[in-house]
Amino acid sequence: MSTVATPSGTRPSRGRLTDLFTGGGRSRRVLWLLLGVVLLVSIVRVISGEQQLTSSSTMAAALLLAVPIGLAALGGLFSERAGVVNIGLDGMMTLGTWGAGFAGYQWGWGAAVVGGLLFGALGGLLHAVATVTFGVDHVVSGVAINILAAGFVRFLSEALYSDNPAGGGVTQSPPVDGTPPTFSVPVLSSGPDLLGSLERQGWFLVSDVAGILRGLTSGIGLLTLIAVLLVPASYLLLWRTAFGLRLRSCGENPAAADSLGVPVYRLKYVAVVISGALAGLGGVFLVFIAGIYREGQVNGRGFIGLAALIFGNWRPGGLAAGAGLFGFTDALQLRSRAAVVALFLLVAILLAVLALVQARRGNLLTAGIAAVVAVAALVAFLTVEELPPGLVSFTPHLTTLLVLSLASQRLRMPKADGLVYRRGEH
């Protein structure tokens, strides 16, 4: 009966329509999911009239906020896939910001990137020495690195910036010399700016897609581009190369990997150093935004990156989605408090759909709960003018937490993640 062949070929057809939506493997399902989200947001934008929801400016802001979180999460991916829990990401990012500031003010932005990578990698190396060689509990070492990094950068700043003629002080560096170039896609988002003119029409769906695309393709910094490309690159490296397979085997079953000749200790070292370097790169990104190193600039992003990693089920696509979600809601609450209220409508529609689906499947209790919450969300959307600022600024955390708890039903961490591996003792 089926005319749409499923490449996996293992599942019986469930009808033409179902095949269209759910067949074609993971990539098509993801595509449909993305389209569904855009459609939903587009509906919400038209109903609520909050143009900020899908404007290119919000998308650009979301990208800016998501990149440092994503880089930290990518760092965590390498480390945890090799079996080393990395709570120290935040500290490594802090080290990265300092390294970028120090190299950047003297030798320009290129050196800032190298400096940040190097300082982050040093933090990673310390973590590797502690956890791999000396077998320290991963969490203890990570927490120690976070505290150490904060003290260390203050110490360095006092030593080097206190009486520096170039400027700076105990808590900040002199300004970084120059910024990396930015790119726009020609014709589409610069020059004739076709996407921009489409976005301004305010058409349902078309303008939303244009806005999203323009936000992601206009005036993109070099580092942002690299960060975005690092996501598929990490996937290819970790899941499509022998090196990646060996590295992941250290996180799943190091004893078995060792018995097959995989250099477990060395790979763990490499992974944790890469992890630190990536977190450091996230720090570099923050320094470029401000044009300066400032103490406390990281502001807990390393931990949010860690959350994005877990929410993303220790996979590159998932962590990118987590970072993107956080970045989007953060951008929205920074740009427009009223637009945050429109999210209630989004929740209401989502839950109404869920209620219908559950009701059809006969799960009346779940359907009932979903319907009640949907109605509550709808009422909130219709009655609330503007949320109190304390709540609004908490939106990204709340949203991520909600999605995390809903999506984390089937999470699977690397099997030997967080366990100290001792050769011959397992």
Binding site: A61, L65, F134, I147, L148, F152, T171, P175, A331
Partner: protein
């Protein structure tokens, strides 16, 4: 190993906040002898610490001016990254015998009450927080009429704006920063009642990260510039750098705060966008307080308010961007000093 790491980090962190900056009185020429009559001034900084090129450095400038005149030395301490050790800084200075001790920043208001009680023989001053609420005889509050200076910033913005649309970025939504907002809005509306003013805070009350988040300052200001604002005033401490970056990227302008930021950004691209800065003369207030301490005329238990009349606040003219509207500004300044204009302190 972990314990070692931890211990090492603690030692480093301790080092970082304990180590005195070597500036001190050594360069002032007045530091001979070291007898007990020697003026020993303690300074406890706000988040951002020494070298913030703004608020804290203005306090240092005031202390240095006072030392120039009276001789002596000073010791400054910066809080740790999350500023949880504010009370410790004050007790540390008091234990070491520094007198007077000046706490720079309203955040000390929460902790200073207990400290002044513990050290009744030490004279304290707090910048930006009221001493009257505490009611201790050895504490003086150094307050500023930020709303008056911000009123003038609003006048400058509204006069210079070509789009009739301006913006305000606040760091943290506290009553102190709301004074800036209120004055700015009143000033802009005095010039142009129809003016559109976007106002936004980076973080809500209680979350002080808004003073130190240049990326968020950049995004908030960017949103305002895209919406049509052409001048944005920030009262957001370190986040203001982001506001300047956004102004430079958008080809628009911004107004700085606390110190003359034209002189402190170190970057010609950013200098070009700084229309003016709302000056808060913390240096004047601090040196005047030390003068009165030396004279023995500190009353204590009361607040000294530095307003436009006392030149405690004002607008900077570096860069010459507001030279052409100086007459308008002076006109409003005089009206405020004469009491003809009452500037609100809450938005």
């Amino acid at each position: 190993m972990a314990a070692l790491l931890l211990a090492g980090s603690m030692a480093l962190a301790a080092c970082a906040s304990d180590e005195s900056s070597s500036g001190g009185g050594s360069g002032s020429g007045g530091g001979g002898g070291g007898g007990s009559d020697e003026l020993r001034i303690g300074l406890a900084f706000d988040t951002g610490g020494r070298g913030d090129r703004s608020f804290n450095d203005a306090a240092v400038a005031g202390v240095e001016a006072a030392i120039e005149e009276h001789g002596g030395e000073f010791q400054d301490l910066s809080p740790n990254a999350d500023a949880s050790n504010r009370a410790d800084l004050l007790t540390q200075l008091a234990d070491e015998g520094y007198n007077p001790i000046i706490a720079v920043g309203f955040a000390y208001g929460e902790v200073i009450g207990d400290v002044v009680e513990q050290y009744p023989d030490t004279t304290f001053a707090i910048v930006d927080s009221s001493a009257e609420e505490v009611g201790a005889d050895n504490l003086t509050g150094l307050l500023f009429s930020e709303e008056q200076g911000s009123f003038l910033a609003g006048v400058a913005a509204a006069t210079k704006s070509e789009t009739g649309h301006i913006g305000f970025v606040g760091g943290v939504e506290t009553p102190l920063i709301q004074k800036f907002e209120a004055g700015y809005v009143a000033g802009a509306q005095a010039v142009n009642p129809q003016i559109i003013i976007d106002r936004q805070y980076i973080s809500p009350a209680g979350d002080f990260s808004g003073f130190n988040a240049p990326d968020r300052g950049l995004l908030v200001a960017q949103g305002m510039y895209e919406a049509g604002a052409d001048i944005v005033y920030h009262a957001a401490g370190g986040s203001g750098l982001g506001v300047f970056q956004a102004a430079a990227a958008a080809g628009k302008r911004a107004i700085g705060v606390d110190s003359d930021q034209y002189n402190t950004v170190d970057d010609p691209a950013l200098q070009a966008v700084i229309l003016t800065s709302m000056l808060k003369r913390v240096d004047n207030a601090v040196s005047a307080f030390i003068d009165s301490y030396v004279d023995g005329s500190v009353e204590g238990g009361s607040d000294i308010v530095y307003d436009l009349a006392a030149e405690g606040v004002g607008l900077s003219t570096s860069g010459g961007f507001i030279d052409d509207i100086q007459d308008t500004i002076d006109d409003y300044r005089q009206q405020i000093i004469d009491g003809e204009i009452e500037v609100p302190t809450t938005p």
